[in-house]
């Protein structure tokens, strides 16, 4: 094992991998600090570039982007009160107040160091927990794997969505998309309408690019992009003092714990983690009354949380093949393009690659810290790049990226169709992440379901006679019905309380 850990380190510190990590960090800072561009969008734009790269180089590139994108989001949040990414929303509360008081440099410095702390904390949890989960998951058979994929899908569809029904419809739609192509068990064509290109099914890459990038371009073209103000004050004192950081350690630990925990729950994601960590930090702080008025702890908590989310979200993705958020869903896709199937077998068959992921994440966090602290003033200028310049370049990237997949424009058409679907889904309140996840996990779901029923000779009780599968199915059912029963239960409890008080 030690030999593989060392070999993985040697692999990651190869010059091309270090360059990939640096490029990923710089691109992530650009994406993160530009309001309106999300990390998911950055990921899908880089994805086509990874086809020809070795797996480790590709993962260095994407993890660099993941780590720095979260940090980059705080730059516009602090300076302009516009979160660069949804995960930087809570940072804006105190960060912007600090900037208004002329302490923008201090706020940015705290954000970067807290991000590093959160990233390393998340990574430590990943390294400690992932192998244990993978070991347990190795014992899973087809019924357990089916129930697990079902659980991941229902959690994503129901957790954190405004409308559970719309989340589930989005997921079912993704599964319908995945029924196009050759049937996974018998190889008979389904819904191909005689189109040869459809026989291999609809590739998730054009779908991903379309769902994330095209709606963004359409919003820009429709003229709904807000005009961004310019930050004119001078930024000084970015490098934080050790004394100041020491004071924030407790807050950063709380933020990182919340971030890792929330990140590991599929569907919860960064925005929930940052507001929860902000709330917890406020509750335990001696300066709780100063929160919202420019308190450094109010920056440290959400920033450590949003980077810790990355480590947490990688746990279910690497060990079970269930992504925790849209970004890890794209990472999962990137690994599948490389011929690697995340899940317990990844740990058994390619342990060296798993260690490479750990090392690459560490390198990404170190690079993020060094590059961001030394170039922060440059990223302030990026805020001035208008969308009228960015959007046409993004559109070109999308067309060329989907063409590069198979050197055919068929996928470009698929990408554009998904883009239009994604645009209208967003407009009418349908979340796109469940659809994306269903597209990625759909084939596994069908394969494990049919395999289980073959094993049981068509007896569906196989899913409830296997205890682990039963637990997953119960949680799935609960996650599906809980949004419906929770408000009803709350009302009932309120009524009981009222009656109690009345008596």
């Amino acid at each position: 094992m030690n030999g593989q850990v060392f070999a993985a380190l040697v692999d990651v510190v190869q010059i091309q991998n270090i360059f990939a990590s640096i490029f990923g960090v710089i691109f992530g800072l650009f994406i993160g600090s530009t309001p309106g561009l999300t990390i998911s969008l950055g990921m899908v734009l880089l994805l086509p570039l990874t086809f020809k790269l070795p797996a480790v180089t590709a993962i260095c590139l994407l993890l660099g982007l993941y780590a720095s994108g979260m940090t980059g989001g705080s730059i516009s949040a602090i300076l302009l009160n516009i979160p660069g990414t949804p995960s930087a929303s809570a940072t804006a509360i105190d960060g912007y107040e600090m900037a208004k008081k002329g302490r923008a440099g201090q706020a940015l410095g705290i954000a970067v160091v807290s991000s590093f702390f959160g990233g390393i904390f998340g990574l430590t949890c990943l390294v400690l927990v992932a192998p244990i989960i993978a070991k347990v998951a190795l014992k899973f058979g087809a019924p357990e794997l089916f129930a697990l994929v079902l659980l991941g899908l229902t959690l994503i569809c129901s957790f954190g969505q405004r409308s559970v029904i719309k989340g589930l419809i989005s997921g079912v739609f993704g599964l319908i998309v995945m029924t196009v192509g050759l049937d996974p068990m018998m190889g008979t064509p389904r819904f191909t309408f005689g189109v040869v290109d459809l026989q291999a099914g609809i590739s998730f890459l054009p779908a991903m690019i379309g769902l994330f990038a095209i709606p963004q371009i359409l919003v820009g073209i429709a003229g709904n992009v807000p005009i961004i103000a310019e930050y004119k004050s001078k930024i000084t004192g970015v490098l934080p003092k050790i004394k100041d950081i020491a004071k924030l350690t407790k807050t950063m630990i709380v933020g990182s714990l919340v971030g890792t925990g929330i990140g590991a729950i599929p569907g919860a994601g960064g925005p929930i983690a940052v507001f929860l960590s902000y709330d917890y930090a406020r509750k335990i702080s001696k300066n709780s009354s100063k929160f919202g008025k420019g308190e450094p702890e109010g920056v440290a908590a959400p920033e450590s949380a949003n980077n810790a989310v990355a480590g947490g979200a990688l746990i279910p993705m690497l060990t079970l093949g269930i992504p925790g958020d849209p970004i890890t869903a794209i990472l999962l896709g990137a690994l599948m393009i490389q011929g690697l199937i995340p899940g317990p077998l990844l740990f058994q068959q390619t342990p060296q690659f798993v260690y490479s992921v750990f090392w690459a994440f560490l390198v990404a966090n170190i690079m993020n810290l060094c590059i961001t602290l030394s170039t922060i003033k440059l990223w302030v200028r990026v805020l001035k790049v208008p969308e009228r310049i960015l959007l046409p370049i993004i559109a070109t990237f999308c067309v060329v990226g989907t063409y590069a997949l198979k050197n055919t424009f068929f996928d470009t058409g698929i990408m554009f169709c998904f883009g239009l679907v994604g645009y209208f889904m967003k407009k009418y309140g349908f979340p796109i992440v469940p659809m994306l996840l269903a597209i990625i996990l759909g084939p596994n779901l069908e394969e494990h379901l049919r395999m289980s029923l073959i094993i049981s000779q068509g007896d569906p009780t196989i899913f409830i006679t296997h205890p682990i599968s039963l637990i997953f199915i119960i949680i799935s059912i609960f996650s599906f019905i809980s949004p419906f029963i929770t408000p009803a239960m709350k009302t009932k409890l309120k009524n009981i309380c009222k009656i109690g008080i009345g008596n």
Binding site: L168, F173, T179, M186, I389, P392, T412, K427
Partner: protein, 151 residues
């Protein structure tokens, strides 16, 4: 939002019916102790139909607290149509003239649509941007881009 939810759920119910119709037309090929290729599509038909009916009933009887601007403005509609047309023409033209010749024109048109009015900016960005993407894909990552049929 109530009205649009009712329309969406009705469209989804019709789509479920269409998907069910397509499923009935799938070839049947049964092997012993296996489920046919129509098994998963039927499961999905039931799920989609059930959820669409649930959305419809939920909207009618419980109302909705969702608030979205569901109207498509003239600018939005023309933006969607123009982008669709431009991407279609871009792809067709790239097959004939190749990436390097056609992409600067594509970028320039998109910049104009996005509100860019400075000619110098349009010319510089469209050329530098197109060559930048070309350099990344073709030279660094060795992804071949179309040369065009006439070259």
């Amino acid at each position: 939002m109530k009205k649009i939810n009712i329309i969406i759920s009705t469209v989804l119910i019709i789509f479920s019916g269409f998907y069910a119709f397509l499923t009935t037309n799938l070839p049947t090929r049964n092997l012993p102790n296996t489920l046919g290729i129509t098994f998963m599509p039927w499961v999905l038909v039931i799920c989609l139909l059930g959820l669409s009916i649930l959305l419809l009933f939920n909207t009618i009887f419980r109302g909705t607290k969702e608030e979205y601007n569901y109207h498509i403005s003239l600018k939005e509609g023309s933006g969607i149509l123009s982008l669709t047309a431009i991407v279609f023409l871009y792809v067709k033209a790239m097959n004939v003239f190749g990436y390097l010749l056609i992409t600067p024109i594509f970028v320039a048109i998109l910049m104009l649509i996005c509100g860019s009015r400075k000619w110098k900016e349009i010319v510089i960005i469209s050329i530098v941007g197109s060559f930048g993407v070309y350099f990344f894909f073709q030279k660094i990552f060795q992804v071949l881009l179309p040369d065009g049929a006439i070259f």
